[in-house]
Assembly symmetry: C2
């Protein structure tokens, strides 16, 4: 499987840091640019979590860690990189200015992958001289554990770019999902958005607290969705009569005025305060660092269980381990 040697990551926040961890763990050298004073410290904390997680998750021999280099300019970071991952804040103008700098210091074949969770790649690429090599590669936090990456091309992205990106992300244990039509928020975040809106209404209307909402998710359908999605779960619910039966039985419910999603609650101070206080009540006894480690331990356990069953993310993980084994035995 085609391996890259050097990647650049522009922006070392939660997402950029997660990318860095995944790349390093796969033996890829990473050149990072992040102007924040505490960037090193934050990235090191992510690397530590990622290392703990990887050690208990992966049974196959891992390649030697790549080298991490902090660079003072975007130009320094991107030269010699065959993949540039952009993970800066979600402001179109900022991203475009980063691309201008990237473009002046890379050759035209360097892939540029944006981590944006919502901006259209056509809007990102329209000022590039070589726009065909830009795509969105939207990962999920924590990037070093969750395999999904949504790949979205813009109007000018070449098919070859998508194929190269698929190969690269597969080689680092991910599950690329090519989103064939360019839509805002792609696929997964449209669902998150829908759930988020509904949750805001529930809190505003005093129907449930943040903790009750989380419990309604993680003790029920969340457990299902870790391994089968919406449709496979509903297929089972339809029983031998099949999906058509399920739709005929439950489809009409959609006509009922259940959700409030036609509208968005005003996120004023009052609602923001309410959410913040409820969230403190729910999770304030843990620091963010503790929550991250709890989350990672759980994800590692879930992924290992699915790996044993060769299903979903576990199948991806098993394939990845077998690639690592082959690569390692090829080295000897």
């Amino acid at each position: 499987m085609a391996q890259i040697k050097i990647a650049a990551v522009i922006g070392g926040g939660v997402i950029g840091g997660g990318w860095i961890a995944r790349l390093l763990q796969n033996g890829i050298d990473v050149h990072v640019f992040d102007p924040a004073k505490d960037a090193r410290q934050k990235i090191n904390a992510i690397l530590e979590n990622a290392s703990l997680a990887a050690n208990s998750l992966i049974d196959a021999p891992r390649p030697d860690y790549g080298n991490l280099t902090f660079c003072n300019t975007i130009a320094d970071a991107v030269k010699n990189a065959s993949l540039v991952i952009e993970a800066v804040p979600e402001r179109l103008e900022l991203k475009r200015s980063v691309y201008r700098e990237i473009e002046s210091d890379t050759d035209q074949h360097t892939l540029i992958a944006s981590s944006t969770s919502g901006i259209l790649p056509s809007d990102l690429q329209c000022e590039l001289q070589y726009p065909e090599r830009l795509l969105v590669a939207h990962p999920f936090n924590p990037v070093y554990l969750l395999p999904l990456v949504e790949l979205v091309g813009g109007k000018k992205t070449s098919a070859e770019t998508i194929e190269r990106a698929k190969t690269i992300f597969k080689s680092i244990g991910m599950r690329p999902l090519h989103v064939r039509k360019e839509i805002e928020a792609f696929i997964a975040d449209r669902f998150l958005e829908a759930v988020w809106r509904e949750a805001l209404w529930m809190i505003k209307d005093d129907i449930a607290t943040t903790e009750e909402i989380d419990d309604a998710i993680r003790f029920g359908f969340g457990l299902r969705w870790a391994q089968m999605g919406l449709f496979e779960t509903f297929r089972i619910a339809g029983g031998e009569a099949g999906m058509r039966h399920f739709i005929e039985q439950f489809g009409p419910c959609l006509k009922w005025p259940w959700t409030k999603l036609m509208d968005v609650p005003d996120l004023d101070d009052k609602l923001t305060d309410k959410i913040s206080m409820q969230s403190d009540d729910q999770s304030g006894r843990y620091s963010i660092g503790e929550l991250e480690r709890i989350r990672d331990r759980n994800l590692v356990g879930i992924l290992k269980a699915l790996k044993a069953n060769q299903w979903g993310a576990g199948e991806t993980l098993a394939d990845y381990e077998s690639t690592l084994r082959n690569r390692s035995s090829g080295d000897q």
Copy 2:
């Protein structure tokens, strides 16, 4: 913990059968009424799956299985039961007629728990002579594995009914979530509804297939939601700056016209065919029985991983095992 001896289950479909399995596994005798010819066969298939799952999931000594009795009338099923679970199709008039029969053959203290996933308890109970003992106890498929049960009282449901129900459902390893305000679809299904609507649009508009949608869920945020819900996950994403920072950063996105949820696509033959065919392409190589066993194996693995970490559903499971151990040592 207060144990009941006899429960009645009216309706032995996927949900009723799941209830039966969970009750029997907890040493409770179950009297079932289901007029369908193949009811026994379907229930037995569920019991077989449930037994496989329980054997690999639970380490503590289990009580002896309860006895299962098939009854020819509702009257036969409900007499002597201290809990009656109603799991018949979602038609208000049908449910009300079942309650009339239940009420004529039980004393006024027998709990009546409806498995409805959307009808308001106030509408269910309004014709009862003793409406205070009726509540909604909405479980999630597979009922013998997923711990969540939403408890919803109607205008006339007594506080004591809710408390008794909590105690009973906890004693059989579940996680009761009291939904304090009576709203259609309660909490969890409002989210499912929102996601379902969005998914239908994506399929209609050829943005994604059923398989791509499922992959977008199960390789990414589905893994997160098996152990932390929406808010705890977002709290982590906000980092040390906290929930307020997260909302300030991401809240404005809600103003973007991302989702299509203000409207519902027409579930005509064309869309139904499309979904059915895509679902066949995705999962048709497995029978429903095979999918159920794959799902159960995965859920058992996930629950065991969470049990080891004493988190979420795993914490509920660990508590349950410790109750079983105490009960078993008390017997000796």
